[in-house]
Amino acid sequence: MSATGERPEGPAVTALTVLAPVAGRAMPLAEVPDPVFSAALVGPGVAVDPPRDKPAIAVSPVAGKIVKLHPHAYVVQTADGAGVLVHLGIDTVQLAGEGFELIAAEGAEVVAGEKIVGWDPAAVEAGGRSPVCPVVALDTSADALSDLRDSGELAAGDPLFTWSR
């Protein structure tokens, strides 16, 4: 692992640090096996491929309010309106919540790193779906993101990217 690089910040720009919601191997969003996420149609970001050895708990990538909570995906929005989408696996909407355990509730205020959903990446994979987790900055463009960690192993709660707002 290399040391953390420089973090230049312009004046009057807020830098929001977005954390990895799950542990695993970071990868570019473009490599996610889903055309919507890989083309960044909902926004830019990074994906994390979780380990399959044990069930995991997905955490909040930022401090804010859980504005959307499905068993397989959630959006946390900061006080200034930055929404971050976490999607637990690909096509997991088809599981209709099976294998996912909600820990937090929609509408709740959470701190960054707070537990939101328990799930089992190995079970998702055993069902024929990819457990890769896209983490997407909503309603912004790729040039607003910096310090992207899109390779190497991460722990849940490690910085994933910086969002300049």
Binding site: V36, K68, A73, L85, H87, V93, L138
Partner: protein
């Protein structure tokens, strides 16, 4: 027209839709005739993108997908 009405029309209307369900950022529709799907119309209604695979149409609308899907179901 509301977003939901515009999207419903661009999917070929209620008669063309076999099933529609929201994921967190997209509407997943199964349609009778994919030829009736009006992609520019979907984009004009606010879709960020449209992914087509035979009769399965995914309309990327962002996190309001569940609200839009229930509005569409109300119209059907």
């Amino acid at each position: 027209m509301s977003n939901a009405e515009q999207i419903l029309a661009a999917l070929g209307g209620a008669d063309n839709i076999i099933e529609i369900e929201p994921c967190i950022t997209r509407l997943r529709a199964e349609v009778e005739d994919p030829g009736l799907v009006d992609e520019p119309g979907l984009k004009a209604a606010g879709a960020h993108g449209v992914i087509r695979s035979g009769s399965a149409i995914q309309v990327v609308v962002g996190p309001e997908a569940d609200t839009i899907a229930s509005d569409i179901e109300d119209l059907m």
